[in-house]
Symmetry: C2
Subunit: 380 residues, 2 copies
Amino acid sequence: MTAPAFGFELLHREASTRARLGKFRTPHGVIDTPTFMPVGTQGTVKGVDAGRLRETGAQMILGNTYHLSLRPGEKTVAALGGLHEFMKWDGPILTDSGGFQVFSLAERMTFDETGVCFKSHIDGSKIELSPERAVAIQEDLGSDVAMVFDHVVALPNERDVVADAMRRSVRWAERCKVAAKRADQALFAIVQGGLDAELRAESAERLVALDFVGYAIGGLSVGELPSEMYAALDFTTPLLPEDRPRYLMGVGRPIDLLEGIARGVDLFDCVMPTRNGRNALAFTDSGSVRLRNQQYALDREPLDPNCCCLACRHSRGYLRHLFQAKEMLGPMLVSIHNLTYYQRVMAEARRAILQNRFQDFLIEKRRGWGIREASATPDR
Amino acid sequence: MTAPAFGFELLHREASTRARLGKFRTPHGVIDTPTFMPVGTQGTVKGVDAGRLRETGAQMILGNTYHLSLRPGEKTVAALGGLHEFMKWDGPILTDSGGFQVFSLAERMTFDETGVCFKSHIDGSKIELSPERAVAIQEDLGSDVAMVFDHVVALPNERDVVADAMRRSVRWAERCKVAAKRADQALFAIVQGGLDAELRAESAERLVALDFVGYAIGGLSVGELPSEMYAALDFTTPLLPEDRPRYLMGVGRPIDLLEGIARGVDLFDCVMPTRNGRNALAFTDSGSVRLRNQQYALDREPLDPNCCCLACRHSRGYLRHLFQAKEMLGPMLVSIHNLTYYQRVMAEARRAILQNRFQDFLIEKRRGWGIREASATPDR
């Protein structure tokens, strides 16, 4: 008998926080948690080829069901060998369900209990998405981890709206579980309920009863303050089973990742390292560097003397020039730097967990980034 | 005593054509000729990092004096360690003189015997360029090979105009030679004279008398037919010394490189592999592939089954998707493919020269590319 395709092993619980160290086994390899997943929206992490992406230290990546189903279409991806073969990424891939994009990007969206109807942002064509359809698309894409199709609402919002969307998300999660057929694809549920502890508890309790391979915390980083998000994590993660991976969706800044880890989160994804990289903003241990600033024009130093990424072989002056001259290599290199930086912070975090000094590590990182403890002001 | 910084060794003359095999020694290494130099206009070969560029097989690259002097400015490049350090390209670099760009790109250009005056295409500022200034800029950039500042005219043109520009170019070449000071930078002259055998002969004779390290053939691929360009090479290369490298500037399609090699040319540069790559056009042994065509949407085959470049690990369907989705990775990968293809054709050409079968090799390549012998029709 072969081992089951998926498994989460909890290796260590950190002494000073709720941080955890683990291993998550998938059909495309075992990853170390906590881990950060770069976002490959349209079948590519923007500006970074698969080899360079691997060099950043990335172990698992994310693909977007909404985008890939519109273009090139999941049937095309399947005909070209599935998402791993398509992108030539041989590590694990998680696909989101499209829920977040449908409720934030789609035009003329309408929904009922069955699912949602919307117009493609690419060609205006009418598209329907439902729990069953979201699972079918993800099965065609062939990701290792599929997400349930959920109803996402912006925050702040009325309690009734949040509660209604949360309960619909639970019913849709159940339909997703019934629809899922692939043994080599795990399905993660998504806890909703906004910033309301009671609603989050109801969502978590009902989803845990349905027994999913992993649990995501959704509907955060959608307009609320960081302090509100941290508070929501404070009361949500204890509701989730210890022996399943926990994934905080679409978050965030390096500090948000560490605050999430301190509260027991294992998986993260965000477009921030690549999107900011394309905009000439680089992350470092002493805060972010806006490379377009004139002060870097003659700067011979690398972005970060301790970084061994491709960008840090060059001077800041060179990187600035690339952005001034609108050369593709600028976005390419700073995206690589930021992805490498995120992976390095995660590797440091895993080490700090193992050594039971995560609290000190978090304080030290906050200081470097110039962030006051428990800051209630969102980053601009 | 150390060996001189530069040297050209003629290893073999092919039996069936005027093709030559050689080694060109520079302060940043020895290169095999014939060779193709990718173009790094603004301090980067567009969309390709230095490591990936090396992987294509490129041995020597080209930088543009005109572009770099306008942005970031040669003094900035010098302050950041010179062009090699700036780009982190440790192989040889050749810089053009700006002549071609000034006479083709610059706005409100005026010239006299001293030099040219023009407005920057970036910010409209007034700029002067002269033989002495072109040399000084290239010395600041620190390339291995600098080009003389020449007067380029479009073809076809009146004989008087071509003759006047050619004679001015000779006088300017002499001034460049006087101005050049760096022992670690070689200066190449540029033979002008359009399609006129007498003018080319006069230019070559006078420049050869001035004794340059290498000789370029300029003012071609500026509007004339390929057959006219080949004819100009037919009567120009025999006028150049056997023991100096010969460089055909700004040329061209793969067939043009091979026709040039057959006529005794050693060095080439062109933006075509990267520019076409960015436009989804890929070169292969059986002609070019327009990846945007619908026929490739479900194509699981690579661009070229014999190519080991990064792009050819993917399906044509994936590459097409990247262009449809406007993802940077499309231009990046197809630029890498085209550069790899150009280098492979050059490596094959060098082997064919050594084995005295260049004529057959040329015929075989023409057949693959679907080009009739001695075609007089320009590629569209």
